[in-house]
Amino acid sequence: MTPRQRTSILSLRRIGALILRYWYLLLGSWPRFVELAYWPTVQMILWGFISQFFYTHSSWVVQAFGVLLAAVLLWDTLFRAELGFSVSFLEEMWSRNLGQLFVTPLRPYELVLALMGMSMIRTLIGVLPAMLLAIPLYHFSIFELGLPLITFFVNLMVSGWVVGLIVISLILRNGLGAESLAWLLIFAVAPISGIYYPVDVLPGWLQPIAWALPTSHVFEGMRAVLIDGVFRADLFWNAVGLNVLYLVIGTAVFLYVFRVARRRGLLLQIGE
């Protein structure tokens, strides 16, 4: 047996090894596995009934019964993407394994790529059942959005990873005392992302902030497809541009915090 003498700067094998580890963790706990799909399904059922009620009382919803349902399913995509990213990192913190990982040839950006991969797997496991269940329950198929659905999905995944990068940077810097940010921070984005209502409902001073978020462009794009039947390429490209910008910033912040962690010994002293 001859272990590699030189290691490549980016190894799919190492990224795959970490994804395998998170997959083992997921399979090892059926309550966690079920929980992934539980909340999106409950949300979808709740908002489905609310939509049905509004259907007979609101001319706006009559135009597009699926707007609220699509919004809740896409919001869960964003939320699950962020949570899938952050919780996989927290697994390393909880098992005090981060130091052990980084004495292997694993690069910090390979960890980030593995977290992204696992986030996608967890999001699909979580959101797909709810999307499929909406078809028999409400005769609403989000898949009828067609190609735009893929653009919304990918953009929201990336937005979730950006928030996840900020969360894990704060946890790495401040310890497990900051772990609740994994569940909290994403909700700071929700009110100004125009998930259930258009951005122009917000106060004027808040609207520029909302438009600075890629999520606002995604949800406005979703309404354009569902209500007006058009795919707004301008909103799509705005979302892509902002996501790329924030992803680069988020990655740079994480790599900076990782270096600070090496300087201060934080990789060894992981705790409250």
Binding site: M1, T2, P3, R4, Q5, R6, T7, I9, S11, R13, R14, G16, A17, L18, L20, R21, Y24, L25, G28, S29, E91, S95, R96, N97, G99, Q100, L101, F102, V103, T104, P105, L106, R107, R259, R262, R263, R264, G265, L267, L268
Partner: protein, 276 residues
């Protein structure tokens, strides 16, 4: 494993110069220099807070030094640690493998991280050699201390490292298991020509395993030599008594002549010096 990397002997396996680590006002490591020759087993001894774990962490690249240089297996750890991380490994009872994964899952993940070909076969081979084949399907969290130590050792050997950094390799083990682990390590070093740097509080273990000993106190190396030379120099019966002398400052609290590097640090012989 290429023999050249083990026995070239031209440069030491570890070369540390002027190493400092400060945490705010605290000097955890205060200007240490040492070499570890290829194929040797060297102990880093000292009381709690002496700077052993900080030194090991800097050698592993987990901690950035405030000042100084570290060369491991011919590579500068501060500039190019990824060139060497695949060739070294470490084990510590204070850093455990994730509890919720089975033993085999844990070891498979690490084998893949190290790029070990035929990872599953390597894990099974280690399980046979270290006698824990029956535990492969068990959750790591359900193992006893002795079983966990065997598994941790397997993780440390999964990539057939040329350099092993071990922190308390037999802590919390019963004498029989501890003896078995020591024998296995001796056999591994003989077979692979591997270099070992270990931190331990078990002086009998150090006397048995190590060619050289470095004594640390307050972030400095205050003495060094072979176990036999240190025992003679301090006029004591065993290394434990030497350790107590040094830990309690009975060597005068300063670095004696013997603590300086020998002219040829790769020869692995005794380092003589004046008694304290």
């Amino acid at each position: 494993m290429e023999a050249m990397t083990h026995s070239s002997g031209r440069r030491p396996a570890i070369r540390v110069r002027g190493l400092h680590k400060r945490f705010d006002e605290v000097k955890a490591v205060d200007g240490i220099d040492f070499d570890v020759a290829y194929g040797s087993v060297v102990a880093l001894l000292g009381g709690n807070g002496a700077g052993k774990t900080t030194t090991l962490s800097m050698l592993l690249g987990l901690l950035l030094p405030t000042d100084g240089s570290i060369e491991v297996l011919g590579q500068d750890m501060l500039q190019d640690r990824y060139a060497v991380l695949g060739r070294i490994n470490f084990s510590s009872p204070y850093v455990e493998l994730p509890y919720r994964l089975s033993v085999e899952q844990n070891l498979l993940v690490y084998a893949r991280l190290y790029g070990v070909p035929q990872a599953r076969a390597r894990v099974r081979q280690l399980a046979r050699e270290l006698d824990f084949g029956a535990l492969l399907g068990r959750r790591t969290g359900s193992l006893s201390s002795g079983q966990k130590t065997r598994v941790a050792l397997a993780k440390a050997l999964v990539n057939e490292p040329e350099l092993l950094l071990l922190d308390e390799p037999t802590a919390s083990l019963d004498p029989d298991t501890a003896d078995w682990v020591r024998s296995y390590l001796e056999e591994y070093c003989r077979r692979m020509g591997a270099t070992v740097l270990l931190a331990s509080h078990n002086m009998a273990e150090v006397e048995r395993l190590c060619d050289q000993v470095m004594m640390m106190r307050a972030g400095r190396i205050v003495d060094r030599g072979t176990p036999g030379a240190l025992i003679r120099r301090y006029g004591r019966r065993n290394l434990e008594e030497v350790f107590l002398d040094i830990a309690r400052g009975r060597n005068g609290g300063h670095e004696p002549e013997a603590a300086r590097l020998p002219e040829d640090p790769t020869h692995g012989g005794e380092i003589d010096g004046a008694a304290p």
